[in-house]
């Protein structure tokens, strides 16, 4: 900071070329800065919308977090971590309707089942009855308006911290 302030003071009026060079450098530097920021924006192609978790009864052991994951380019959510004060750990899960109903009408007899998945392709909508982040071993109930800090890891994007809000 101090050095930057000294730069204009060092400009000798008799050496306009140097001044121009400094200005050019500054301009270049600024442009460079701008480009760098743009690149960063491009890398931050993943955005998380409305992360939330359903409030839980006092004795419910597990919870679920939902959100919309927007992504400019295909990416994968490969890991979710939750603060240890909230739950033991978090896993990526998918709820689906079993379709091997053995000839029966599946809509009548299909069981809803849940399985751990290695990743969730982004963009994605995590919502009830589909993909979700399962909070395993809740240490405290999820309260309306309560905040749950999560660290999400994307294959390309890297780590993103999000705060999910509890709601009924």
């Amino acid at each position: 900071m101090k050095q930057e302030m000294e730069v204009p003071m060092n400009i000798n009026p008799r050496t306009p070329i140097l001044a121009l060079a400094v200005i050019a450098l500054m301009a270049f530097g600024l442009t460079g800065c701008g480009e760098e920021k743009q690149t960063e924006t491009a890398q931050q192609g993943v955005t998380i919308e409305t992360p939330w978790a359903r409030t839980s009864p006092a004795n419910q052991q597990n919870g679920a977090v939902y959100m919309k994951i927007e992504s400019d380019s295909p990416d994968k959510l490969i890991k979710a971590e939750v603060e240890s004060s909230i739950a033991d750990h978090a896993e990526l899960h998918e709820t689906s309707m079993e379709t091997d109903g053995g000839g029966m009408d599946d809509s009548m007899h299909g069981k809803m089942s849940m399985k751990k998945v290695p990743f969730i392709e982004a963009p994605a909508e995590l919502k009830p009855g589909g993909f979700h982040i399962m909070l395993i071993g809740l240490k405290q109930p999820i309260k309306n308006g309560g905040e749950i800090e999560l660290t999400l890891t994307f294959e390309k994007e890297g780590e993103l911290r999000v705060t999910a809000v509890g709601r009924d």
Partner: protein, 217 residues
């Protein structure tokens, strides 16, 4: 202009006719509501809860058998699930809770909620009661739990429900696959309506109004 101005006796007669018509329309409207279009699914092939007993908890019961039907004049909202279920069960209970809360107190008084656990190893009867109270603090709630897997299967079969503990290593946390319908059961044990997973609380609410209206008739 003159023809449209009503005075004296003809006006009164017209007013009476109009009033009668309005009343008739209102009655017809009420009738339509009573037999209104239901959003849930009818369940003609579902046997229902008559003669199906499970150990019950809540409302003074501590494991005594309870038939899977409503008290007289009431509607039992029955669900098969488990308490470690993070997604499907809380979503369904929450939708039902919102639907119930939207009803007037008078209609809420005609409702009871019960949940059968498909995970008796981890869920105690009282756990289920506490769980349900979170969603329905002003309704009678019952936790239904049996450790006898045949008894559980008989109860599930009677409603076309099913559950299965997912394969897991001993001591490892596990999930339970289960059908996720919510059943409206009357005092004879008959299933009046069933709502599939993902039903909207507005739809459940309007269906409950219709079912309760029909029950009063």
């Amino acid at each position: 202009m003159h023809r449209h101005v009503l005075r004296g006796r003809p006006a009164r007669v017209l007013a009476i006719i109009a009033g009668t018509l309005a009343a008739a329309l209102a009655l017809a409207g009420g009738g339509v509501l009573g037999s209104g279009e239901l959003k849930g699914m009818s369940a003609p092939d579902v046997g229902g809860g008559i003669n199906i007993m499970l150990p019950a908890y809540g409302e003074g019961l501590e494991g005594q058998p309870k038939e899977l039907r409503a008290d007289y004049g009431k509607l039992l909202l029955l669900y098969f699930g488990y308490l470690s279920c993070p997604d499907v069960c809380p979503t369904t209970m929450s939708a039902l809770a919102v639907a119930v809360r939207s009803l007037p107190a008078e209609e809420r008084r005609s409702l009871e909620v019960a949940m059968v656990t498909g995970d008796p190893a981890r869920d105690s009867g009282q756990d289920i009661v506490d769980y349900l109270k979170h969603f329905f603090n002003d309704l009678p709630v019952y936790g239904l739990r049996t450790a006898d897997s045949e008894q559980l299967t008989r109860a599930e079969d009677a409603f076309g429900a099913a559950s299965e503990i997912d394969p897991h290593k001993p001591g490892e946390a596990y999930t339970v696959s289960h059908t996720a319908f919510l059943y409206a059961v009357d005092h004879t044990g008959r299933v009046l309506l069933m709502w599939p997973f993902g039903s909207l609380s507005e739809d459940i609410s309007s269906d409950l109004k219709v079912l309760l209206e029909r029950q009063r008739q």
